[in-house]
Subunit: 278 residues, 2 copies
DNA sequence: TATCATTTGTTCGTATGTATC
DNA sequence: CGATACATACGAACAAATGAT
């Protein structure tokens, strides 16, 4: 048995003790923690107290628990996949993005709607859905539209077999823009990069603004993205701006933050920096 | 009493019922939920079951609980503060950043070490600390250095009284760089933008790479940043690159994702997009 | 295939402490 | 001070997942 005498509730003391044991290296990442029964014995507390302590460590993301097996130190590990949030334009005027360039629906035999290729791997696109919707407060604000304006939307669920990371991607195109640039919605399947190329061919000079937020996932997002406990999601909104800085289309990307990180490249621009507030 | 008959554990059924009540608008954001006793009565379950359900909703970030008062629907609210992650260069060659431009230690009478001003407000810098350290695996990788290389570091805790948002900022300068460009570490207090200006005056042509991650905070981070339950933090690392793309300094910024979001501006660059993996 | 021990998950009951009003 | 509400803690029992026998 180990003595514990710390401030706060008993279960907090137990949690702190286990936390320090983990951080000190007594329990390696991926290694099993003592079972509940052993922790009860070791700290001389009841089972509810031990479970409360474990629950606290789970909420911190320090520990993961598998029913029937035990508790394990979560291997923090560096993110396995980096989403490089840049846009490139080749000499022929075509745009490319490092991530998720949908090529063709060639995976139908696997029950997959579309194949997504990246520079160094293949990502399967699942459950591609095209539908119509309307702007909400948030999406309307980003697109500079009133609420309840009509939109054309696509949803894609992406999966990277190398890292095991899932992501959800949504494209929202206002009716007004779709009418002005018909090729945008004529094809059944258009990738973000292709969308940019189409807009550029329609005479638009493009740039993009992107906002990044993090939050806990909703239950259905946890299911879709296969997220473990205490895993936040990165919530990215990219607005494509055209001539006169007019917002044209909105893309939303959501992915679990346990495996993914984002990368940006910044260069100094002229004039004083501005600042925005919502 | 309300009937509940859904798949899964009892407490999950209760959680689902309360969740739907919230999302359907039965309970407005900020409004109190029924007390534990009322939920026991309403769903005819025991207290542990009700508490377990509430705990699940807390972990989702949907509900916040105040001891002695009750449970409340958490007002999701749009982020109050947007960190615009850009760098500007004025005609005189001086760099500016939209956020956190440290001006002068004029707040000493308030027990504050430095005052930080922004374009549209004032942010108090607290607990400015300068110290020496060594690269870890992560910071060494970002700076292109081996582990255990010597560094000069600053820590700042930032607070925006308008939004109530806190942030931690750390600057890491390798000894090698500090030796080459002495002004970097001569002053007791140098802001990021001033750092850039100094490096540019030393002949460097600058650009920045930034990686964004999200994770649950450690206990001490929760304390420092005053974060409520189930609030992830945004973890940003910015590397300043100089001539020959050499990594010069590393900045780390951490802030609670409940109030803050990040904003980036992207323009198309030439050539094929690259992709990196950790 | 079936059984069993181990381990975590769920649910009840009960009592007491502490914060808020 | 008392009433209400959440926090902590203990005990007990059974369910469900896992892995070995």
């Amino acid at each position: 048995m180990t003595e514990i005498q710390r401030p706060g509730a008993l279960y907090q003391q137990v949690a702190a003790a286990v936390r320090e044991a983990i951080l000190s290296g007594e329990f390696e990442p991926g290694a099993p923690l003592p079972s509940e029964a052993q922790l009860i014995e070791r700290y001389q507390v009841s089972r509810p107290t031990v479970r409360n302590a474990i629950a606290a460590l789970r909420a911190e993301g320090l520990v993961t628990v598998r029913h029937g097996k035990g508790s394990f130190v979560r291997s923090e590990g560096q993110p396995v996949i980096t989403f490089e949030r840049s846009v490139s334009r080749a000499r022929d005027g075509q745009f490319t993005t490092p991530d998720a360039a949908v090529t063709a629906p060639a995976g139908a035999d696997r029950g997959i709607d579309a194949v997504v290729t990246t520079s160094d791997g293949v990502v399967w696109g699942v459950e591609v859905k095209k539908f119509r919707s309307r702007t909400t407060k948030v999406t309307g604000l980003l697109l500079g539209l009133a609420e309840e304006e009509a939109l054309v939307c696509w949803d894609r669920v992406l999966f990277d077999p190398t890292s095991g990371a899932h992501a959800m991607h949504r494209t929202l195109i206002p009716f007004e823009v779709a009418d002005t640039v018909p090729p945008l919605t004529e094809a059944s399947e258009v990738s973000p990069a292709e969308t940019y190329s189409i807009l550029a061919q329609a005479g638009h000079k493009l740039w993009w603004s992107e906002t990044v937020r993090a939050r806990m996932p909703h239950p259905d997002e946890r299911t879709t993205l296969r997220l473990p406990d205490a895993t936040p999601i990165l919530d990215i909104a990219r607005v494509t701006h055209g001539t006169d800085d007019r917002p044209l289309i909105l893309e939303e990307l959501r992915t679990g933050a346990d495996r993914a990180e984002l990368a940006y490249r910044i260069t100094a621009d002229k004039g004083p920096a501005r600042r925005t507030r919502a």
